[in-house]
Amino acid sequence: MVNKENFKKYVLELYEKNNRPDGRGLLDYREPIIIETGVSKNAEGSALVTIGKTKVICGVKLEVGEPYPDSPDEGTMIVTGEFTAMSSPEFEPGRPGEKAVELARIVDRGIRESGAIDVKKLCIKEGEKVWTVFIDVFVQNHDGNLIDASALSAIAALLDARFPKIEEDGRINYNEHTEKLPINKKPISCTVIKTGDYLITDPNFDEEDVSDARVTVITDEDGIINGMQKGGTAGVTKDEIYKCIEIGLEKAKELRKHL
């Protein structure tokens, strides 16, 4: 077990020299970033995202449900996130804890607020039947930066997804799929952590563990911010927030190329 205080001192010394434990620059993401789609055949769409040693799998399932009364012609979506106990010694089995729920809600916000899914095209019969899109994110191996990896897996799985066939009797045939889900936007999450006075992207588990604060910025391809979340226990200055947004926009462009 690495002593946390000593490790923090060590990383701060490295950060000062624009270096990191694994030799990266402060704002570099790990390599390789791999997105594999179609990794789970029974899902309407799926993706396994690997960033360094962090691995997250997302599966999209569709069901027919009722629309909300205030949006009778729109499909619905729900994101769940699970920090599987398999993926890290830190995680316990059982219902998702507050961190897993926070992660799911951040991913949800990015997709919902960017209008990534054209929800009007998920309407089957106004006021009665619409598609519900279930986006389930499961962490496979936790080596830091789960928010960015999860958001990336969610949009990649959505881009991979196809509608199941509705038979004439109204039954859903999950063995046959028709056209692709209508995806309009590709929201990308970039999380910046603050350790001491340094801003870092894509921390691994140990770097994340000694960080003071965290700012997630989700942006679409038009440069619109669709979601933000300040995390961690330390405060950040307004200039640091502006800097995080700048970094977020820049990094989102790079990450979007992998889709």
């Binding site: 055949k41 029974n42 106990a85 993926s87 496979q140």
Partner: protein
């Protein structure tokens, strides 16, 4: 003889793949794939037992959690445990338990997680084969490997490793079996359906023969990791 839907011979297991060390954070891990069923297993431990009153002064305890990912099945499964997963967690634990030298690790626990990322019948068997590999990968002292496969019975014939399509045939019976190939001991036997008593011998013989094939795939996966380490 009725043809199998995917034209396999009665004693033919679907194509298998196995790999260890797939989850870097875990002390031991494995992926086991048979046909379209993919199981992942992660092992943590031996570690301190929490809560403490659960600890056994004589030997390690095993905690097992099996789950299907919601998107692994055609009709989405609600996240979280249900009666099925609670039972399967236990039978998976009991299947691998006899292979472990538990007394080597008194007052500790070994956590065993098995997750199905894609399901097409035989998920508990794939989970057991993955679990045993993950335990070996974690360096837990073991007297044997545990290899598992299900034998099926439908239309009066005994076949190995039935897939979802065969499972859904009217009157199909599923008999999951786990086996320690060196000790020659059966560690899991379940039966769901109907089977004439006179067929049981054929089922067991085919199950054992097939588990030995699974064993070869498991051994190769372990060897491969250590061969790659040498490079």
């Amino acid at each position: 003889m009725t043809k199998r839907p995917d034209n396999r011979k009665p004693d033919e297991i679907r194509p298998m793949e196995a790999e260890v060390g797939v989850i870097e954070q875990a002390d031991g891990s494995a992926m086991f794939k048979v046909g379209d069923t993919i199981a992942m297993a992660g092992v943590y431990g031996p570690t301190n037992v929490l809560p403490r009153h659960m600890e056994d002064p004589e030997k390690a305890i095993i905690r097992s959690y099996y789950d299907l990912y919601p998107f692994s099945v055609p009709e989405r499964k609600r996240p979280g445990p249900n009666r099925r997963s609670v039972e399967l967690s236990m039978v998976i634990k009991n299947s691998v338990l006899p292979s472990i030298f538990l007394k080597e690790y008194p007052k500790t626990q070994i956590e065993l997680y098995t997750n199905i990322i894609q399901a097409n019948a035989g998920t508990r068997c794939a989970a057991i084969s993955a679990a045993s590999l993950a335990l070996a990968d974690a360096g837990i002292a073991m007297k044997d490997m545990v290899s598992s496969v299900a034998v099926g019975h439908y239309k009066d014939q005994v076949v190995v490793d039935i897939n979802k399509e065969e499972e859904d045939i009217e009157g199909a019976t599923d008999i999951p079996i786990a086996y320690m190939p060196r000790m020659k001991k059966i560690t899991l036997l379940q039966l769901d359906g109907k089977l004439p008593n006179k067929k049981m011998k054929e089922v067991i013989e085919l199950g054992i023969k097939s588990c030995e094939k699974v064993y070869e795939v498991q051994k190769n996966a372990l060897k491969k990791k250590y061969q790659n380490m040498g490079e």
